[in-house]
């Protein structure tokens, strides 16, 4: 774990990526809710920011997230053609 060494973390507490997610109100945010209702377990690294549409995600949001320490940025929108 190169990154863990770089950040000085010990093996017992492995490096965990921090992922900032921009989820649209319609498909992805509701899908994440549905995962909850269905109790589908997943990794706790993601931090969701809700926007009305993935079209609202300014490229600067992504750069800003990386600049402030995000290890990954995930953008979730609707299936192409399913615009709300």
């Amino acid at each position: 774990m190169l990154l863990a060494k770089e950040t000085g973390q010990t093996d017992s507490k492995q490096w965990q990526p921090k992922i900032v997610a921009f989820f649209c109100n319609w498909c992805t945010y509701t899908a994440a809710d549905l995962a909850g209702v269905s109790r589908i377990k997943h990794a706790p690294n993601i931090r969701v920011i809700r926007v009305m549409c993935s079209g609202r995600v300014d490229p600067q949001f992504i750069l800003d997230a990386f600049a402030k320490g995000a290890d990954g940025v995930l953008i979730g929108g609707c299936h192409p053609g399913d615009c709300h």
Binding site: G55, D58, F61, A65
Partner: protein, 670 residues
């Protein structure tokens, strides 16, 4: 003197939701942490924030502590954002000074590690607390609701919803794809557990739909396009050519008699192919409307262009029009009820049950027609080989509760299997064997019905059928052997029978995905449409103004379908009678001083809400057309478009909030 003194005073609350949240997230730790954050003056946890005492706690604090911002960490905003906004506004604070943190659906319910879950909650709480500072007081706008309703699907769900709405004085458009309303229920013989005949309870309702002055019934029609939003939908309906002029046809059936095909020879959909029809046909004797239809797939005129057109000649009223074209109707409605129904599972997919191979293997729906007095055999159980069965096996769970086909229980099969057992016994006095996994008979009078059937001498064998094959000891090879493990006596048994009935499950219609797209609603991976909340909003969808009824939402029996259709109608009525809807004030607006008039936003708007003002040389957003997607905001090169509730500062502060706390702070510093 006021405590606020122009300062931000945030109240933070986290909900235990019983143990739903508190079982995973350390709420005390989150509360302690939140109290250290800037601007937070109140930080509390409570068992059920959405309850009255929870809401009152917020309101009391708003007044006594002079809070001017509220953050609640609880369930999804889809569930209780409105609840807490209302509580906020009732205490005299603008409701948009509220922010919610999703700590249940997207946290406690999906993570196993309490520490990671608590860390995540703290990150998101910090994010909300830094965001809410930038919130502005906003006003909700209202738009009027069009009072007319579109009901899609003319089965019992659509019929009941239409009648309820029409009886309340609302104008209803009922659109049905096939030439008659009635749906699957019209095909059933009797209904469990009361054994009253399906036609006797359904056909009066069908006729009431047709005669109701408030219902416009369009059969053999399909919804082509849906635009707009709650209160103001524009819908385009295609009326397929029936090749019969509706107003002239009286349903005398002379044209059917006159058809050049002397004998019916095409698959009769209504009777599941157990009888034949002509290219010109009446779907079934009680079809509503009583109009014949010409099927261009089988009519020789449409296939070859050559026919004597005896049907045209025979009609004294000149109702047959072979040149008829599809017509399109455009309607404006405020609400839509989707009741598009189900499809029976295709039994041939479970190949080892031999459906389609052995003629005496039937599906349950075929048996419904076979025992129906107006069915292909006038109610006599005469099988495809001409014989009457003396022993019958009913195989439960075909296409249900099976990892090879569908995982779900179709809910009605046990009961309709019991019903068919009773009816087949009544008609044939045959020995009846039910092969089941579990007998599931919940509901009023249902288990009593099961007991009755057992007392009537219907045999029950617990075991999933493994194979069905011809009985070689039977010289005529008519009999079939049903092989299963009787799990109660732990033995493999082989039961020779004359007839096999496959109790097929309920599956979504093939085009569920297209319908979902058309109405902008969601469906599960199986294809059943998803309700807004499984318990508290069972007929709503995630699209406001669109409601669900019947089996398109999931398998259910007739009583539940009717109840759900009534509920969908009531939900539509509630909207219509209020007369208006409140819109989320998340629209975009132009900061004119900063707009350079570059026009780059104009073509990007999916709703054509942006125009260019030549005089001012600025872009202009029509608030009524803006749906608040924010695409223009993200694209504006000069940052001169803003979106209410999603302003740049609000989103940047959320990003800041999430990231400026390092969840491995300790590890990093050493």
């Amino acid at each position: 003197m006021s405590k606020t003194n122009g300062k931000i005073r945030i109240g933070f609350y986290i909900c235990h939701c019983g143990t739903n949240i508190a079982g995973t997230v350390d709420v005390q730790k989150v509360v302690d942490y939140a109290s250290t954050l800037p601007n937070v003056v109140v930080s509390k946890h409570y068992k059920y924030m959405c309850s009255d005492p929870g809401q009152e706690m917020i309101q009391k604090d708003i007044k006594e502590q002079e809070l001017n911002r509220v953050v609640v960490a609880a369930c999804s905003p889809f569930l209780h954002e409105r609840t807490f906004r209302n509580a906020t506004s009732q205490a005299g604070l603008n409701q948009f000074y509220f922010q919610m943190v999703n700590t249940r659906e997207q946290n406690a319910w999906v993570h196993l590690d309490p520490e990671a879950s608590t860390d995540k909650a703290m990150d998101l709480v910090r994010s909300a607390i830094s965001r809410v500072v930038f919130h502005k007081p906003l006003e909700q706008k209202t738009v009027p609701i069009k009072p007319d309703v579109l009901v899609v699907g003319g089965g019992i769900a659509g019929i009941h919803a239409s009648l309820t709405l029409a009886n309340a004085g609302k104008k209803v458009y009922l659109v049905e794809r096939v030439p008659t309303i009635g749906g699957h229920m019209a095909m059933f013989d009797k209904t469990f557990p009361t054994l009253d005949c399906a036609a006797c309870i359904l056909t009066p309702k069908m006729s009431a739909v047709k005669n109701h002055p408030n219902i416009t019934m369009w059969t053999y029609s399909e919804v082509e396009k849906v635009e707009g939003y709650v209160g103001n939908f524009k819908v385009k309906v295609k009326r397929k050519p029936r090749y019969i002029i509706d107003d002239l046809c009286v349903g005398c059936l002379d044209c059917i008699e006159a058809c050049v095909y002397k004998e019916p020879r095409f698959h009769d959909e209504f009777n599941q192919g157990l009888s034949k029809r002509k290219p010109v046909y009446m779907p079934f004797p009680q079809a509503t409307p009583q109009l014949v239809v010409i099927d261009p797939e089988t009519c020789i005129w449409f296939k070859t262009g050559k026919c004597k057109q005896t049907c045209v000649e025979s009609c004294e009223r000149k109702a047959v029009d072979l040149n008829q074209q599809a017509t399109y109707k455009e309607i404006e409605v405020g609400t839509i009820i989707v009741a598009t129904g189900f499809k029976p599972f295709d039994a041939s997919k479970v190949y080892y049950y031999g459906y389609g191979t052995y003629p005496n293997v039937y599906t349950a729906l075929e048996v419904e027609r076979l025992i129906n007095a107006s069915g292909p055999t006038s109610g006599e159980v005469i099988m495809r080989d001409g014989s009457t069965p003396k022993s019958i096996a009913i195989v439960h769970c075909v296409g249900s509760r099976d990892k090879n086909t569908n995982l779900w229980c179709s809910r009605v099969c046990c009961l309709y299997s019991l019903k068919l057992a009773h009816l087949l016994k009544e008609h044939t006095h045959a020995d009846i064997y039910n092969f089941y996994i579990d007998i599931r008979t919940p509901g009023k009078l249902m288990d009593e019905f099961y007991t009755r059937m057992a007392e009537e001498g219907v045999k029950f064998i617990r075991g999933r059928v493994a194979d069905i094959y011809p009985d070689t000891s039977d010289e005529e090879h008519r009999r079939l052997v049903v092989k299963a493990e009787d799990t109660l006596i732990r033995e493999i048994i082989k039961v020779p029978v004359d007839m096999v009935v496959l109790s097929t499950g309920l599956v979504p219609r093939d085009d569920a995905n297209d319908v979902r797209r058309l109405f902008n609603i969601t469906c599960s991976t199986e294809g059943f449409f998803i309700e807004r909340h499984p318990k508290l909003a069972p007929v709503n969808t995630f699209t406001d103004g669109i409601f669900l009824a019947g089996c398109c939402q999931g398998p259910k029996d007739i009583p539940d379908t009717v109840a759900q259709a009534g509920a969908a109608a009531a939900e539509a009525l509630a909207l219509i009678d209020l007369g208006y809807i409140e819109l989320e004030p998340n629209t975009a607006f132009i900061v004119e001083e900063e707009c350079s008039g570059c026009k780059s936003c104009v073509p990007l708007c999916p709703y054509s809400a942006i125009s260019y003002n030549e005089e001012k040389k600025k872009a202009n957003i029509n608030e009524a057309l803006c749906k608040g997607c924010g695409t223009c905001v993200a694209s504006c090169p000069s940052g001169s478009i803003k979106q209410n509730l999603f302003e740049d500062e609000e989103i940047y502060s959320e990003i800041d909030g999430i990231l400026n706390y390092n969840i491995y702070e300790e590890a990093v510093c050493c």
